[in-house]
Structures are given as structure tokens and as C-alpha cells.
């Protein structure tokens, strides 16, 4: 979250000659990112980014503390000017003529509200705040409303502790019970919105009704209005987890809620309450009750120890224990240097954030300055690994496809088509399942682009989720046109597939299926491969084969008619196995058109390579073998050459 810190307000707490830019620089490099330094109405305002762990800096004094710690690292002198906060009950400001107003408080669950503090003021007159207060509020990004509301906001921005003001007279029976809501209970907050509460929201109920949605927004029924004369000022700490849950469930994010969620300084509750009350006293109000405080337990600081060796190890440079101690001291962490280690007592405002050794190392390192650390490459040994071949093969295939004229596409893994893995909270109705197939996505790419392209050659290599994650490669060729173009397209795809096998040195038989989506004047042909399988089959080198003579290749186009003339189901596998038994047949490629041609017919192509290591084969040598093969194909498989 970002907060606006007016420069003049910040400088109430620091004494330094450093410029605004120098302050912003020191903060950004060593503490908090300063997003902007802007002039607003003649004043400078810093926009500071607060990270989730630094709840102690969601305030002017929190930022001031960091400025005091970081400026000296850049050679600037700076002094911290502590806030003068009154203790209302030390000084006898209390008007004895005021009634001693009562307040009955009950906290049902300390876990929800570990600290409750309130004070009642009488003789309150609702009117605008002093100009300076209004100006600071506006510069910090909050609207000035009236002296009472402004007092709560002012102190919240300055100290980080949110406060709330109730109209005391509207609290039935002067009773306040802090408890968890039941599902369905309602409250109309002071923005006029009626809200139905979930279970577990922290609320305050008076003698009759719910008057506060704690930590988020007060109720309209207890709000201060222009007739209010008695104000109950109140400061609390709430359980950050339930507060965030409620705030998110209601979709209501307020400045107060953001602070409660992050965590607060347990020792700031009372001083903030006093400061806020003082602002009202300054405008004529009088204290009219005791300080009502209910607290689970007193704050007790804890220690964190950091090993000196570990500091140097993490930084990558040696710093002296004295230097480390000096930096920790600058952050008020009370370092105590012992043998080989430093023990810090963590102040209340860093209580939750600083828990481990590494937390302290971070404090030392950031003040030392990350920019001051050396820059060096990892000096340890790299892992002794056998490199995974699959990445190499993926790269080769991609470059191969690129060189063959294909364009790589990236499509969404989340698709509308049903699959094994379903998303519970999909982004929209097109991203519901994790895909089991790359083909539908690629077909969409073809359809999207075909209006302006006659030929489309694309591929994608990506995981499919079956639900196991497997790397697939789908290659797709689209061509506009009739038979000639269709022939070209499927031929091109076959060439690609053959080239893959060759490039990856895959020998032996590999089954690959070519599918199509066919229309009158266009066709799409595609094949999908499993990369892991290809990797397993691939070899680094082919085995050398002694082939002194040139091969002769012959292509056969066959039609198998099935029926009684086939011994069993015509299978291209069995056909291939049978043919390879013939002499001088060196290699065979067999393919089958998967479409149903009706009447049990199948269209099969056959590519035979003849080779002999003893002599150069000629047509004379091959003729009898060819005839033998064709005879066998007819009698055993019912397949004949097409005309």
C-alpha cells in the first residue's frame, strides 16, 4: 500500500539539513520505496510504498524513524524529535465539575480484541478543525470533516493507530460488548450502506443494537453529528486475520482496516488516545470519564540473536561487530554484542516483524546499503549433472520447424473443451479446463488467420494435461484449394515427420498419425507427437551401415478390398513385417488413409527401399522380388495396385 507523507509534517519529527530529494533517496535505497516527491498546493508530499511486513511505517512517525536511521548512511546529520504526547491523567487537566461518565465494557474474546481503550469527553462543539490540521489531512489524502473526526484521522496518520469517535449519548445503557458477529446480523455503517455481516466479524453492541463494525467503519446509529456534545474516543487493537477476512468478504476497504490488518504497535494505543483527546480539549472539550482500558496482557518484548559469522556469510563481505551494532542501534534495536553474536531486544513497533536471525541480517544489510555490497559471481561449484536431453531435442525440433517455414504459436493452456482438470474459479467461460489436446487451439489459430493467408504452417510445443503434464508437439498445415493443394499439404506434413525421425536419428518403426479437417476448398492436416517418447527413441548418432551400393526406391499405391480375400484384418504393421522378410528389402514405409472408404476398402501406400551389400541391384534383380511381393500382398492381404 502507498501512503502520502507531507514533508512539513514529517519534519516536525526530524531535524536535518538534508533536502527532500536526499530524504527520498535514503529511504528508497535503505528502507521504503518513495514512489513520488510532488508539489501539492505549494507543499511537498512523499508517496511512500509500504511493504506488508512494515506495519510500523504506516505513519508519519514510522517514516520519520526510518529517515533518522537511513540519512546518516549517506553522510547527513539528523536528529529525532520525539513527539510531545500528553498524559491526560498525569497533569490535572481533568475538570472536576464534569460528570464522571460511565462505560461498561465487555470483551467476549480477547483473541479478537486484545486491547481496548476509551475515554469520554464532554462539552464538545462540532465545528471545523484548525487550518493547519485541515491542510495536513488534505495533503495526506484524507478529507477534513469536523474537529472530532479530524482528530481521529490526524492521530491515525501521525501515529499509525486508528481511532474512532462515538456520540456517547447514542450508546444505549453506556454498554459496549465486543464480540464476533453471527451470520446475517446487520449494521448500517456511517456511509449509509446497510451491510449484512458474515460470521466472525468483530462488532460492538450496546444495550440494544450493533453500533460498530470494528476496525472497518462505525455505525450510523452511533455516529457523531452536529448536535453531539459528548464524545467517546476509542482506540483498539484487533485480530488482523479476522479483520482482513471480514473486510474482504464485505468488499469494504478503509484506511483503518488496512492498518489493523497489517498489525499495530501495542504501546501506541494509549498515547494515541491521549493525543486525540488533547486535540479536542484544545478546542474546548473536557475529559468526562476515567480512562477505560481492557487489555489481555502487558506488552513484553522478546530478544533475537544473530550469529556474527552468519552476517558476513549472507552479506558476502566482512563487517565488524561494532559496525553491525551501530546499524542495529540506529534502528533502536538495542544491540548487545557478545562473543560471536549480537543480541537485540525488539521494540514494540517491530515486535511481529523481527523474529529470526535473518530478520536482523536484513536490518544490518539494508542500512549498510545493498549498493555498498560487492558484486561477484557464485564461487561455489556448479551442480555435477547429466544434462537433460529433452530440452536439447525440443530446441532442435523448434529450429527445424522454423527452417522448414513453420511459424510457432503460443495458445492458452486453459480451454473451453472438456478435460480431466477443471478450474474452480475460471477467468471466463473460455478458460475452464486444462487442455488435453493442442489441436483445437491450433485449429482456432488457422481459422482466425485463413482469411488473409492461402497457406498456413504452424506448430506449438506445449504441455497437455491428461492430468499428467506431458510435452506435446502439434504440427499443422493448412492450404486453400482443391485436390492438388490438399495433396501438397499432406505431402509437406509427411516430409516434416520423416525429417524429424531423420534429424533425431530415430531408426526402427515409429507410428505417426496424420489427421485432417477437410472441406471442399480448403483442408487442414496435422500430426501430434509426444516429445518425451521422441527423446527416448532418439540417438545421438546413427549406427554406421556399410552400404557400398546405391538403394533403389519404389512407391506402390494399393487398394485393399477386404472381405474374404484378406486372411485377417489388413494391418499395415503385419504387411510391413511380412514384406521386410523378402530378400534385398532394406527398409519400408507404410501408410494408411484412415478415412472409411466404404465396403471395407483401404487405401495404402508403400515405399520400399531395395539394397544389397553384394552388388548394385538393377531392374532385373528387383523385378522378380517386386512380383513376389505384389503376389503375396494380393493373396495374403487382398491388396492390389491401384490403377
Amino acid at each position: 500500500m502507498n501512503i502520502q507523507i507531507p514533508n512539513s509534517w514529517l519534519r516536525e519529527f526530524i531535524k536535518t539539513n538534508a533536502t527532500n530529494k536526499e530524504i527520498a533517496n535514503a529511504l528508497s535505497l535503505c528502507a521504503l520505496g518513495v514512489e513520488k516527491v510532488e508539489e501539492v498546493d505549494g507543499e511537498t508530499v512523499y508517496t511512500v510504498e509500504i511493504t506488508p511486513n512494515r506495519y510500523d511505517t504506516v505513519s508519519v512517525i514510522g517514516v520519520a524513524r526510518e529517515v533518522v536511521a537511513t540519512l546518516p548512511q549517506f553522510g547527513h546529520k539528523v536528529e529525532f524529535v520525539p513527539a510531545k504526547r500528553p498524559d491526560l491523567f498525569e497533569t490535572s487537566d481533568r475538570d472536576q465539575t464534569s460528570p464522571n461518565l460511565a462505560l461498561n465494557v465487555c470483551i467476549e474474546d480477547y483473541k479478537l480484541c486484545p486491547h481496548f481503550a476509551a475515554i469520554v469527553l464532554d462539552n464538545v462543539e462540532i465545528r471545523p478543525s484548525p487550518k493547519k490540521v485541515q491542510k495536513n489531512l488534505e495533503l495526506a489524502g484524507t478529507r477534513a470533516l469536523n474537529n472530532v473526526v479530524d482528530a481521529t484521522n490526524y492521530v491515525m496518520i501521525e501515529t499509525g493507530q486508528p481511532l474512532h469517535a462515538f456520540d456517547y449519548d447514542k450508546i444505549a445503557n453506556q454498554e459496549m460488548t465486543v464480540r464476533a458477529s453471527k451470520k446475517g446480523e446487520k449494521i448500517t455503517t456511517l456511509d449509509g450502506v446497510e451491510r449484512e455481516l458474515p460470521e466472525g466479524a468483530i462488532i460492538i453492541k450496546d444495550g440494544e443494537k450493533i453500533i460498530d463494525l470494528c476496525g472497518i467503519m462505525g455505525g450510523e446509529n452511533s455516529a457523531v453529528d452536529k448536535n453531539t456534545t459528548k464524545v467517546l474516543l476509542f482506540a483498539q487493537i484487533y485480530d488482523p486475520v479476522s479483520l482482513r477476512k471480514t473486510s474482504m468478504a464485505l468488499g469494504h476497504r478503509t484506511e483503518a482496516a488496512l492498518r489493523f490488518e497489517k498489525g499495530l504497535d501495542p504501546e501506541m494505543v494509549i498515547p494515541a488516545l491521549h493525543q486525540s483527546a488533547q486535540m479536542l480539549i484544545d478546542s474546548g472539550a473536557k475529559v468526562a470519564s476515567e480512562l477505560v482500558e481492557v487489555r489481555q496482557s502487558e506488552f513484553s518484548p522478546h530478544n533475537v540473536t544473530v550469529d556474527l559469522d552468519k552476517i558476513n556469510k549472507y552479506l558476502g563481505v566482512e563487517i565488524t561487530p561494532e559496525k553491525a551494532g551501530e546499524l542495529l542501534e540506529a534502528l533502536q534495536l538495542s544491540p548487545h554484542i557478545e562473543k560471536g553474536k549480537i543480541v537485540c531486544t525488539i521494540p514494540s513497533w517491530r515486535d511481529k516483524d523481527l523474529q529470526t536471525e535473518e530478520d536482523l541480517i536484513e536490518e544490518i544489510a539494508r542500512l549498510y546499503g545493498y549498493h555498498n555490497l560487492p558484486t561477484k559471481l557464485p564461487s561455489g561449484q556448479p551442480p555435477a549433472e547429466v544434462i537433460d536431453r529433452q530440452f536439447k531435442i525440443e530446441r532442435r525440433l523448434k529450429y527445424l520447424l522454423k527452417d522448414l517455414g513453420f511459424t510457432e504459436v503460443y495458445t492458452n493452456s486453459m480451454v473451453p473443451e472438456e478435460g480431466e482438470v477443471k478450474i474452480k474459479n475460471p477467468f471466463n467461460e473460455d478458460m475452464v479446463y486444462m487442455r488435453t489436446d493442442l489441436v483445437p487451439s491450433l485449429l482456432k489459430v488457422v481459422d482466425k488467420n485463413k482469411a488473409t493467408q492461402n497457406e498456413i504452417k504452424i506448430f506449438e510445443m506445449a504441455n497437455v494435461y491428461t492430468p499428467k503434464e506431458e510435452m506435446g508437439l502439434t504440427v499443422m498445415v493448412y492450404k486453400k484449394g482443391g485436390i492438388t493443394e490438399k495433396q501438397q499439404a499432406v505431402g509437406e506434413l509427411k516430409t516434416i515427420l520423416r525429417t524429424f525421425l531423420d534429424e533425431l536419428n530415430i531408426t526402427g518403426s515409429v507410428e505417426m498419425e496424420i489427421k485432417s479437417r477437410d472441406a471442399d476448398n480448403e483442408s487442414v492436416w496435422y500430426a501430434t507427437l509426444n516429445i518425451q517418447k521422441l527423446t527416448e527413441l532418439s540417438k545421438t548418432y546413427k549406427e554406421y551401415k556399410h552400404l557400398p551400393y546405391t538403394s533403389i526406391y519404389e512407391d506402390y499405391s494399393l487398394m485393399a478390398t477386404g472381405g474374404a480375400s484378406a486372411k485377417e484384418e489388413t494391418s499395415v504393421k503385419s504387411m510391413r513385417d511380412r514384406i521386410s522378410k523378402e530378400p534385398t528389402v532394406y527398409s519400408i514405409e507404410v501408410g494408411e488413409d484412415p478415412r472409411d472408404l466404404g465396403n471395407g476398402r483401404k487405401s495404402i501406400f508403400l515405399k520400399v527401399e531395395y539394397n544389397s551389400p553384394e552388388k548394385q541391384l538393377t531392374e532385373q534383380d528387383i523385378k522378380p522380388i517386386r512380383e513376389q511381393i505384389l503376389k503375396m500382398l494380393k493373396s495374403e492381404f487382398g491388396a492390389e495396385l491401384r490403377q
Binding site: 530478520d359 549498493h371 557464485p378 556448479p382 551442480p383 529450429y399 493452456s413 482438470v421 474452480k424 488473409t452
Partner: protein, 336 residues
């Protein structure tokens, strides 16, 4: 018609043919001799006006001349047609461009990132995109009520306890659980977050870097990231670390790179000379423990950045919207 005028018909006919430099002129020559009003045509017509005696001789002579001229025309025609072919060889014509294909920009970036990190001994890994909430959140020190686990920050699956990973950091756990040291790895893969705008898309890629050993330091993280920045962007660039906060690292850093447009002086595209690159940090002790490592014996650094994000930061690329990388408009993809 005397001998001389006959000779003249042949001579001038042959001259005209010889002079022709193209088919058009050759045709003109032919017309002069053989056209309607051509010399040969006229001469043949006027034969009937000649006295009977000697008519045969003139006729024969004319036929000879006719043959001679026709032969000359044929030869010349052939000659002109052959030279026409030669003239048409034009070596200034551009060659036919071979159709090259295109690797997707994201692939190009991934290969580049992989090569830079592999150079430093980082091993390329691929870890699950679909993973347990434990590995994606709990083991990375993000408890059940952490904002990152909200329904609008992550994609949850119907199968209980499973999510689509929002970052490649889940790979840190998978690597550590292998139980081997030292660790130096990069997990590059798809991540998922429910957000779509000019700089986000629900699916995107990240690359994770993880190094764990007995003496890994912030200085070495600086060195690794500097090496990356100088090689991926340009030699003159610098990086800086600023304090930040992540659940799975301690200390945590935001990493900036000096602005490539203004050289670090400050311009409207950067913040005072710096541009945000991504997050990094020293691996949190709870993460080391979840991975079965002892935080008192080893330390590590980690960084996880967006592939598309750093790619779009390259000077000169000028792609305005990240969603174009997923739009699969071939006219777009084929520019690269």
C-alpha cells in the same frame, strides 16, 4: 523490267532484312518486298505487261529473288528470336526468397535466458504447472489466510488442494526435495493468475533462479543478476537492489535496472533513471526447512521474473500490449 531493276529489288530487299533490329522492323522489310504494294508483288503483277518474249526469263529470275529473300527473312527471324532470349536475362532481378519460418518471441526470449543462466552453471528444469497448494503456498511460507491465496489472485482446481501455480517458485521445493547439493537451477515455465490487461494475461511465463550452497551471499545474487542484465539487455546497464518484502525470502529485494532510454538520467518512462525488473531475495529459512534443508548449514538466493515482461523491456521492440503475444495473429508473429 531490266536486269538492273531486278537486281535492285534483291539488293534493297536483302539490305532491309539485314538492317532489321527487331521483329517489327523485319516485318516492315517483308512488307516492302512482299506486301500488297511490295516490290516483288508489283513486279510479279507487272509480268503480264511484259512482251511474251523474255517474260519467262524475267519470271524465273523473280522467283529466284523471291526464294532468296524469303530465305533471308527466315534466317533473320531466327536470329532475332534467339537474341531476344539473351536480352531477357536480367541480373538485377531479386532472387526468390526462401520461405523461412518464425519462432515465437517468447521462445526466443526463453532460449536467450536459458543460455545466459546455463553459462553460469544453472541447470534448466521444468517443474509442475499443476501443483499442490502446499508446494505453491504453504512451503513458500504463505499461510492459509495470505492474500496470494485469495480466489481472485489464483486459479484453484476442482480437485481439492490443487492449484495452477502462480509462480515458478514452487520449483524451489521440488528441487530441494531431491536432496542434492549444491543447487543451481532455473525453472522456466507457464504460470497462471486471474488478471488480464495491457501488461498481464491469465497465462504467462516466468523464469526462476535458485542457488543453494554453504556460502551463498547477497553479493553473489548481485553478481548473477548483473551478469544477466548486461547480457540480456546491454553491457552498459546496471542493476540495483532495494529493500522489499516477500514471504519466501529474507532479506527480500526489489531489483531495478538502469533505464535504457535515458541512460539513468531520468525520463518519463522510468523512475529517476531506474525501471523495476522483478523480485529476489535470500531463501527464507522456513522454505529451506520445507525443502528438507538446514538453514543453519546452507543459504541460498532466489529470483523469479516474468519472461514476457523482461522481453517487452528490450529496446526497440515497442510492443504495446502483452496480450498480442497470445493473440496469434500471424501477421504479428511473422514480423519476428
Amino acid at each position: 523490267m531490266d536486269k538492273n531493276s531486278l537486281k535492285a529489288i534483291q539488293t534493297s530487299g536483302l539490305e532491309n532484312i539485314a538492317k532489321a533490329i527487331n521483329i517489327f522492323e523485319l516485318e516492315q522489310a517483308r512488307i516492302i518486298s512482299f506486301g500488297k504494294k511490295g516490290q516483288i508483288t508489283q513486279a510479279l503483277k507487272s509480268l503480264k505487261d511484259l512482251p511474251k518474249e523474255g517474260r519467262g526469263e524475267v519470271g524465273e529470275k523473280l522467283n529466284q529473288i523471291k526464294k532468296t529473300l524469303q530465305q533471308a527473312l527466315e534466317e533473320k527471324r531466327k536470329e532475332l528470336e534467339n537474341s531476344k532470349k539473351e536480352e531477357w536475362f536480367d541480373k538485377t532481378l531479386p532472387g526468390k526468397k526462401p520461405t523461412t519460418g518464425h519462432l515465437h518471441l517468447t521462445t526466443q526470449a526463453i532460449f536467450e535466458i536459458e543460455d545466459i543462466l546455463t553459462h553460469l552453471g544453472f541447470v534448466r528444469r521444468r517443474y509442475p504447472e499443476i501443483d499442490t497448494e502446499k508446494h505453491v503456498f504453504d512451503d513458500l511460507n504463505m499461510p492459509p489466510n495470505h492474500p496470494a491465496r485469495d480466489e481472485f489472485e489464483s486459479f484453484f482446481l476442482e480437485q481439492d488442494g490443487m492449484v495452477l501455480t502462480t509462480h515458478t517458485s514452487n520449483g524451489q521445493l521440488h528441487e530441494m526435495l531431491k536432496g542434492k547439493l549444491p543447487i543451481r537451477m532455473t525453472n522456466i515455465g507457464r504460470c497462471y493468475r486471474p488478471e488480464s490487461n495491457i501488461s498481464h494475461y491469465p497465462v504467462f511465463h516466468q523464469f526462476e533462479g535458485l542457488a543453494i550452497d554453504t556460502n551463498v551471499s547477497i553479493a553473489e545474487l548481485k553478481g548473477t543478476l548483473t551478469f544477466f542484465a548486461k547480457n540480456f539487455f546491454s553491457e552498459d546497464r546496471e542493476i540495483r537492489l532495494r529493500p522489499y518484502d516477500f514471504r519466501f525470502t529474507e532479506p527480500s529485494f526489489e531489483v531495478d535496472i538502469s533505464c535504457g532510454l535515458c541512460g539513468g538520467k531520468g525520463c518519463k518512462f522510468c523512475k529517476e533513471g531506474w525501471v523495476e525488473l522483478g523480485g529476489a531475495g535470500m531463501v527464507h529459512r522456513h522454505v529451506l526447512e520445507a525443502g528438507g534443508m538446514n538453514p543453519n548449514k546452507v543459504s541460498g538466493f532466489a529470483f523469479g521474473w516474468g519472461v514476457e515482461r523482461v522481453m517487452l523491456m528490450k529496446e526497440g521492440l515497442n510492443i504495446p500490449d502483452i496480450r498480442m503475444l497470445w493473440g496469434n495473429d500471424l501477421n504479428f508473429l511473422q514480423q519476428f
